[in-house]
């Protein structure tokens, strides 16, 4: 899937607080509106990947939200709100998620909760492998350069102390 690397922060008049590009972790209440806007972006990207091949059960949408929203929120607590920097990489994983969901739906018109569970498991495995590989190649995970490679949104990967 194509991803945009030139996006801008939302306008100041937006009801959703502008997504910060700084790395300062914020408290959970401050992150809640931001994570909801991010989740709209995530769902839109998943939809792009699936296209018109299948529709989604409402329960499947709920499962994706309930399963991954806390993980995204946790990643943002750890690393701050870096969405504008991380967006292209995370939405690329959305494309993978969508493709896997279509595959697990096995030709059905509707992607059900079981298909998204399996797709979610694949994405989490990918996230963990990618994060561990990034850690190994970068050394200190707490450096700014290293956090740029953390694929922690989907799996709450906890770097070793």
């Amino acid at each position: 899937m194509h991803t945009d690397t030139t996006r801008q922060a939302p306008p100041a008049t937006s009801a959703v607080p502008p997504v910060q590009t700084g790395h300062t972790p914020r408290t959970s209440p401050a992150l809640e509106p931001a994570v909801d806007a991010i989740f709209d972006d995530v769902f839109l990207s998943i939809g792009q990947a699936v296209g018109l091949r299948a529709s989604f059960d409402y329960e499947a949408v709920l499962w994706v939200r309930n399963h991954f929203r806390p993980k995204f929120l946790n990643a943002m607590r750890h690393f701050g709100d870096r969405w504008l920097e991380d967006r292209s990489r995370v939405t690329a994983v959305c494309a993978m998620f969508g493709e896997r969901a279509v595959r697990y739906a096995n030709g059905a018109d509707v992607i059900d909760v079981e298909a998204v569970r399996q797709a979610g498991a694949d994405v989490e495995r990918y996230c963990q492998l990618h994060a561990a590989r990034s850690n190994g190649s970068r050394g200190r995970i707490n450096s700014d350069a290293a956090t740029g490679m953390i694929a922690g949104y989907w799996c709450i990967w906890e770097p070793a102390p």
Partner: protein, 113 residues
């Protein structure tokens, strides 16, 4: 209707919009945020008038897919679906939505759909 339920509806509808756009072009984040801000208010008002998302979901997500298709159309030769394309697509969709609502007698001409 809780705030969380409204957010699930928005997730569901933006998923549908993404389906309508497909992989031909990326979507600017400010376009996503604009859609979110706009339809959050609309959905809250609709539900406040007694509409049921469960009953209306099929129709609402169909409109979401159409919204995405119109946005892709308005993006024309641009590299991405930007805020302007999103706004134009919303205008198309809301005009049609308003006409349907008037036909069905659920909205007056002066009332947003």
């Amino acid at each position: 209707m809780s705030v969380d339920q409204i957010d699930v509806m928005l997730n569901d509808c933006l998923l549908a919009a993404g389906q309508g756009i497909g992989t031909e072009k990326p979507v600017d984040f400010d376009a996503v945020v604009w859609w979110r801000d706009r339809y959050r208010g609309f959905f809250m008002r609709a539900l406040g008038r007694g509409n049921s998302y469960e009953a209306d979901r099929r129709r609402v997500t169909a409109v979401g897919r159409y919204l995405g298709q119109r946005a892709l159309h308005h993006a024309a030769n641009a590299a991405s679906v930007d805020l302007n394309a999103a706004r134009l697509a919303s205008h198309d969709v809301e005009t049609g939505c308003q006409m349907n609502a008037e036909r069905e007698g659920v909205a007056s001409a002066a009332q947003p759909a």
